[in-house]
């Protein structure tokens, strides 16, 4: 295994990385998301055209990816609130797995809703 990874290959570290990367990607996505919705204000035609574009399978997959990012950041965030506000207990070590599991369930729920 890559030497840099050997010391970092534990659940807490992956949880951090997922939380940070998902946060960055969501932060980059939000302005675009708001701007598109803002088209509803005075450029309904453009909004309609955009929404037709989102009907493509690749864009649908991207939407699912965004839901996964949001779910991951959300469950990871709940885990952090537990770690920072409740007194430390050994079972906290299992929270990373729980967060991952719940976020996958949420993403699956979105995918199956389609």
């Amino acid at each position: 295994m890559n030497p840099a990874l050997r010391a970092r290959n534990h659940p807490g570290y992956w949880a951090f990385l997922v939380h940070r990367v998902s946060g960055i990607l969501l932060a980059l996505y939000l302005p675009a998301h708001f701007w598109v919705l803002g088209l509803a204000l005075h450029d309904a035609a453009r909004l309609d055209a955009f929404l037709r574009w989102t009907d493509q399978p690749l864009v649908r997959f991207g939407e699912w990816g965004l839901v996964l990012l949001l779910a991951a950041h959300f469950t990871g965030g709940l885990r952090l609130l537990v770690l920072e506000f409740l007194p430390w207990r050994e079972w906290h070590k299992g929270l990373a797995a729980v967060a991952a599991g719940v976020s996958l369930v949420l993403a699956l729920a979105f995918a199956l809703a389609l």
Binding site: R20, G23, W35, L37, V67, F110, A113
Partner: protein
Amino acid sequence: MSARREALLWAAQRASAALLALCVMVHLATMIYAVHSGLGAAQILERTRGNAAWLGFYSVFLLAVVVHVPIGLRAVLAEWLGWRGASRDWLLAAFAAALAWLGARAILGVFL
């Protein structure tokens, strides 16, 4: 003073996180419901336009986002880009303002 500022930013980040936890649950549930029901844009806008309750909800959601996102990026800029100090904080304040502006337009467009 760094200690007080960092402590207050930390508190604001966790408070907005707790609020966002609730908002995100509602938002995800709504999105899953909308997709599951096969609602198109026109139908969604029919339900959202003039709806004061949703307007209120998303305004709170936006406020929490505008607090939470820049504070979150602050640590990333410092640790991964080595960018610390006043200039970074000014950029983040501008980003927060931009998010607030775009978000307000989105809310007006969808809920008013």
